[in-house]
Symmetry: C2
């Protein structure tokens, strides 16, 4: 039998067949009326997913491209910026802002720690404020999900524009852009939005648009104003990734049909199920054992086992792809993604495969308990 | 019967079913070994299509993104640059380089004129040289294809780094990057490479890499060195558009299986057929009546007819999508693309549809002659 494959990394994530089918439709022109109906619908649905009345700007890029758009639209050379970092992606944003000459003040935590809004308040007070702050909602490298509502409140008090990396969290855990007063939300197509990688997005508040107009930093491809003006006419400044836009429109339809609240609740339950199963295996969680961390479950590799070995055995022997650790965590943790198109049975598959592979590798695990624990946690009120 | 649709714009272009099928395969992880085999093959095939031993850097972006990469890697603020422009895309590159602070000296032609390498020689002499020059190979807005071999010779004599926009020409008309001494070739997935839009590419000579190292211009997403270093490990610095890379690898395989010389010859014949048919209709060509202009045939709208009307009737009544004019040519010309996955019968369809629609619109055309003329021109030795 041809091997069945299971993609359980924190991104790219599995794409539903309806989305794949839409992507495989014959090509159409990006200025034809039929594409414009997909595109207009996609832009409107993105607003609903971001919970905003503002424009959601779509870029043909990785998520990092959408991040670069925030930097070049909001950060003039020499401008002070606070970047909250507790992992690989937080570190990337520090480097990105530095590359464009920003005076970056990192608010740094050990990888795996959960950033605290009170620390941002203290940091802003200490340095006399900053016009912009960057924070990661879901730190994919550690599985930690931060309290964005808390960060938004601190930023508003300080008059600081808050830019949130929601690449691996948008559409999986709550993010109320307008209600919480978040200025900019950055995300990408390839995580909870259940679409292949290739689209980056920036939801931009009126306040952030106004701020961007005063920022002198060269920009062309990432220019927010240019993109907004084109999108106002249901157009794009440059040929968009037609197939991916059509696919994402279908995926967003699936999410909104399920209902955002239901989607969030499903992720909470998937997270609980995965953590319960991991604990029942006798393993130690690296990511926090809390409902908010519902997109990636990070686990300490047991008994000195190189987690890279586990990743390899799972992939090569059982067709299951999970992720190892990044940076200093390489070899020390493994990560199971359950972002987007996942249900309970995917978690059961992941846990069973991990159990089998760890036994193969001679690790000391509790056998036969993970599935039951996961099902019970998923079903608990 | 559901309407059959015919995409005959100069991009995006039709995508072969094998490519669409590959794009619709279930998602895989971008660092898994199965993706790496697609990716490595795609990068290698791109070198063959660019006729270079150098690296071809792949960006998740529109073609304009790949252009921006050339500007931010080669142009420091205030640096002199010559930009050859004779149409919409030439003008875009002028604006792009200006946006990043380059001191752009335009070598400007009327839209529809064919740029002459001798004029670049004269301009470089007049201004005392320039480290970088930009030129468009196929000006999609007018159908003109420039003599890149001639421009490359002039640039080499002057010690100027030549950057060529081959977005709508790479894989359709000859471009011998190494043999002609072209420093940088920019292109995108959505034209002759028969893949949906979403991938930009920059083929970069060793000389251009060396030059980029000395250029102080902030860059992160578009950084050539970062991309080259990742690609050397068959990796990408940021999550690539997995599906599009897999699709483009298939498309490049189709091109190389047909053979680049055969592909070029097919485009020459398609261009001849299209022009012969247009002339047999009694219409006047806007693009040059020469073999080199083999990717887009631009035609003057007859008898004061708004070409936008023709485009609309073709699309709404007959399911055939062609393009109108851009800028000052809006309403005055129409353009038929025959880039990539096109054969004689596509040209016959386009000509027949144009004939029918022009008759609908009351235009004065010669009826019943276009198809025979096109077939004869296609078959002529």
């Amino acid at each position: 039998m041809p091997e069945k494959r299971y993609l359980m990394t924190p991104g790219p994530t599995p794409v539903p067949p309806q989305v794949l089918a839409a992507i495989a439709e014959p090509m159409i022109h990006h200025r034809a009326s039929d594409f414009r109906s997909h595109y207009g619908s996609c832009l409107e649905r993105l607003k609903q997913v971001c919970r905003t009345q503002s424009d959601v700007l779509l870029f043909t890029s990785s998520g990092t491209g959408a991040w670069e758009s925030a930097v070049v639209n909001l950060c003039a050379p020499g401008q002070r910026v606070v970047a909250v970092t507790a992992g690989s992606f937080g570190d990337r944003w520090v480097k990105l802002a530095q590359a464009f000459g920003a005076d970056v003040v990192p608010l740094r935590y050990a990888w795996g720690e959960t950033p605290d809004p009170a620390d941002l308040r203290a940091k802003l007070a200490e340095i006399g404020g900053a016009p912009v702050a960057f924070v990661v909602q879901s730190e994919t490298s550690t599985g930690v999900v931060s309290d964005i509502q808390g960060f938004a409140q601190v930023a508003q008090e300080a008059g600081t524009t808050l830019v949130v990396d929601a690449v691996s969290s948008l559409g999986a855990v709550p993010l109320e852009m307008d209600a919480w007063g978040v200025d900019v939300v950055i995300s990408g197509s390839q995580k909870a939005l259940m679409t292949p990688p290739g689209l980056g997005l920036a939801a931009v508040s009126q306040r952030a648009f106004a701020q961007a107009r005063g920022v002198e930093q060269p920009r062309f491809y990432w220019d927010w104003e240019k993109t907004r003006a084109a999108q106002a006419k249901v157009d794009a400044p440059f040929t968009p990734a037609v197939s991916l836009v059509i696919g994402m429109n279908v995926a967003l339809g699936l999410i909104l049909d399920e209902g955002l609240e239901t989607v969030y609740e499903r992720h909470v339950r998937l997270g609980r199920a995965c953590r319960a199963g991991i604990k029942a295996l006798g393993l130690e969680l690296f990511s926090p054992d809390e409902d908010r961390s519902a997109v990636v479950t990070a686990v300490r590799s047991p008994g000195g086992l190189d987690s890279g070995e586990l990743v390899k055995v799972l992939r090569d022997r059982y067709g299951v792809t999970i992720a190892g650790g990044q940076g200093d965590l390489k070899g020390k943790i493994f990560r199971v993604g359950h972002i987007g198109w996942f249900d309970l049975f995917d978690i059961i598959t992941a846990l069973t495969a991990i159990e089998i592979a760890l036994v193969d590798l001679g690790a000391d695990v509790v056998r036969g308990a993970a599935v039951g624990a996961a099902v019970a946690a998923f079903q608990a009120a």
